[in-house]
Symmetry: C2
Subunit: 272 residues, 2 copies
């Protein structure tokens, strides 16, 4: 069966366990301002990072089904944990392009031929999936890879405690083993972490390159849409529609922070 031809003006579908994936949306809006975007955040069941692979796959399947049911032309899995566990399954189950955050990050990390000692910070679920470690190892032999679970960073970002002295102490504890291992590249393998870049730059020795999932995923998506001739060529700026499985004031506040602007009206989603 051939691929169904989709309308280029159809929205790009994004999903994440919560609103962290909006850092990816923000990067895509910067790079592809004409694209319409439909975003689903599964805030009722967040976080995914600490849950089992079976549950994460079930959640991802339901999230993708919601987006496909609304006619998206491609799916961006804007969640590292879901990409790590569910990407092959989603590609098998849905007949449209499915783009994750991992391949793009790995390509970008290795775009520097000197990269040889790669550190990764991520949720426990992402680290344990070995998805980044595996993708890196497949692309370049002889890499030294160190993955560090950093489970307290998501709550620190969500509480907006990035400038609290506790955040620095927590980050130092996570970074110390990576610095000791003399990494030259640090991958921020969670969509919440781009907000930590300023404090990371301050705490890391000079010369360590930071690679974040959000901007690398946006670049990868642009290349894919170009290749498949699926870019939206409308004149006007694209729209953004946000659906969350649980609505609350905190999620709306967080959404605005991750987008760096107003999020518009947020709707409640009911998954089948």
């Amino acid at each position: 069966m051939g691929k169904i031809r989709r309308v280029n003006s159809a929205p790009l579908g994004f999903f994440d366990s919560g609103v962290g994936g909006l850092t990816v949306v923000r990067a895509v809006q910067d790079l592809l301002p004409r694209e319409n975007i439909l975003y689903l955040g599964d805030t009722a069941r967040l976080p995914y990072g600490s849950k089992s692979p079976e549950s994460i796959r079930r959640f991802a399947q339901e999230d993708a089904k919601f987006l496909v049911g609304r006619g998206v032309k491609a799916i961006v899995v804007a969640c590292n944990t879901a990409t790590a566990h569910a990407l092959p399954m989603l590609r098998e189950n849905f007949d449209l392009p499915v783009i994750g955050v991992i391949e793009a990050g790995v390509e970008s990390a290795l775009s520097d031929p000197a990269a040889g000692r790669v550190g990764i910070i991520a949720t426990r679920g992402t680290v344990r999936s070995h998805a980044y470690q595996h993708a890196l190892a497949l692309k370049r032999t002889g890499l030294i890879i160190h993955a560090q679970p950093a489970p307290l960073l998501v709550p620190i970002v969500e509480e907006d405690w990035i400038d609290h002295p506790a955040a620095e102490l927590i980050l130092k504890t996570y970074l110390e083993p990576l610095i000791e291992k003399d990494i030259d590249t640090l991958m921020l393998a969670c969509t919440h972490y781009p907000l930590l870049v300023p404090v990371l730059r301050r705490l890391l020795p000079d010369g360590i390159r930071l690679v974040d999932s959000a901007t690398t995923c946006a670049e990868h998506l642009k290349q894919e849409l170009l290749r498949l001739d699926m870019l939206n060529d409308q004149e006007r700026e694209g729209t953004l529609e946000i659906h969350l499985t649980d609505l609350s004031e905190e999620f709306e506040t967080l959404a605005r922070r991750f987008l760096s602007k107003s999020s518009g009206r947020i709707q409640r989603a009911v998954l089948a």
Copy 2:
């Protein structure tokens, strides 16, 4: 319609968003060692503390239904957020005793006639529900009440970072406004917090009384079962059966920490 007479050897049903409610189970096992216990942790959708009242009520209804379907003689809502939002609804929908963690804590806090300035630390959801503030105000007029959301404490406890210097900094930030207001009583309004008691004692000025949900709920439950003539009079020690909606190694490790002993075999629960 009269209450259905239930068998005293039937299990007590407990539910919580995760495994934190096992601190209540542990206190009940100490006080009522002959009771059989059926525990449901909704680990697939935890935490409840940051989610909306509507979602919390829906989750609580499904959790209680699971327990009632397995023949429990009473329900203990071993979760402050669910007690705060769903207790009246559960009492209306189910024809058996439903006991929450709030009444018991409030009674215990006010058992000291000198208690006049009460501090509360809890998740954002519990603070925002005003359930503790309301229950306190109903029981004693003229109380000064200060509720402090402390959302980073659950991840700190779950990561076992209680002795990390960051934990002390975070706690100090949360406690400072309460100490400034000269509280005489501090209510630990989250089932995770009993594990923080040693560090709290160190950081708080002498003379502030700590009231935790777990032990006060166990005492309240015992009184209720006595009053209703529903205590289990079997000779042997009661059993404990744990069901989680998401299984993972971390949840099992945490369960053991909250129980201070082996948790036995943990089963996966599917909610209707």
